[in-house]
Subunit: 201 residues, 2 copies
């Protein structure tokens, strides 16, 4: 019965969520009203072979559903928009972190968060106090909302990025404001906005 394996997966996930730690083989057998441990072991090793679960040899309660592994992950919270890209992960680190679920944002390398101060980014529909999660990268695709360092005004701002025949157009989100045009070598992309979180209460 293929049903069995799904029952097993369900039980493991349920137990883990309920108790905070994974079940033992015996607990699975008992919880599923199965009649032998080896049966559980049988399906367990099948699931492990399919890569659906992880287990550690001989260790108690070491089954783990793969998909829930990184359900929560931690993103460092920087003090402010860095003048230069945070090459060193500890650079500008405020000491604080935020936890995210993959429902909100998929985990990927180079993520960092910062709390927006002031209303300099209202034109990007971003409030004072908003939490912005960015991904550190030097390139951008058309339409991305990116943090760029502008050499002439010596500041970093958030703009929408468009590459157009030889130059770069930086478009404010606010339609009443005029776009800026630069040569690609003039600007330096520091990262891309992945997520904006506004906490009202």
């Amino acid at each position: 019965m293929k049903q069995r394996r799904e029952q097993l997966m369900d039980f493991i996930g349920h137990f883990q969520r309920e108790n905070g730690y994974p079940p033992t083989v015996e607990e699975m057998r008992c919880g599923l009203r199965w009649s032998s441990k080896s049966l559980v072991e049988h399906h367990l090793s099948a699931l492990a072979a399919s890569g659906i679960i992880d287990r550690q040899d001989g260790k108690a309660r070491s089954v783990r559903l793969r998909k829930t592994r990184d359900a929560i992950y931690v993103v460092p919270l920087l003090a402010s928009i860095p003048a230069s890209p945070p090459r060193d992960p500890g650079d500008g680190f405020s000491g604080d972190t935020i936890q995210l679920t993959r429902d909100i944002l998929r985990q990927q390398p180079g993520l960092y968060a910062l709390r927006v101060k002031g209303d300099s980014m209202v034109d990007a529909m971003i409030h004072d106090g908003d939490l912005v999660v960015m991904k550190h990268q030097q390139h951008a695709d058309n339409g991305d909302l990116v943090a760029v360092w502008l050499p002439d005004s010596s500041e970093t701002t958030l703009k929408r990025f468009y590459r157009e025949n030889g130059h770069v157009r930086l478009q404010p989100a606010n339609p009443t404001m005029k776009p800026l045009y630069f040569h690609p070598s003039q600007i330096q992309i520091q990262g891309k906005v992945m997520l904006v979180i506004r906490q009202l209460a």
Copy 2:
């Protein structure tokens, strides 16, 4: 040393997050470079007595940091802004849910989420496609961003709420738009915006 207990708590949390299951006493001893298991046991029982951790007698890997128990919680995702408040939790339920961490929003009863469709709320700095987490409540405090049902236009909109000598002022976030005034009995508050999440990528 009080330091010890915090080290222990940190280690347990870290290990749990890293491995998906709690550590054994020996793993704690080893990971913390302590020299005896009974020392770990000693502090473990102290933490348990303080209610900081939970353990199950004799069970392997059954330590659990209390505070992380509900680190993730589930909020139902409604299909759209409900015409009437969702008294029944399953009302308008899209079948989907989102998971949040308390870093983002503290868990509390009456939370539901909805995906904004259209640009009818740009004036509240809310985009098409944004995810809005609301709390179902009939009252509001001054300054709250609330969903209200307006009888004359027969629609629900998001406005900032202000109670002023006998009437209610509903203020659009966009300063160029004029506020609306109503008698308190005319409007019906459906909920309060707790969180706005904009997923850019």
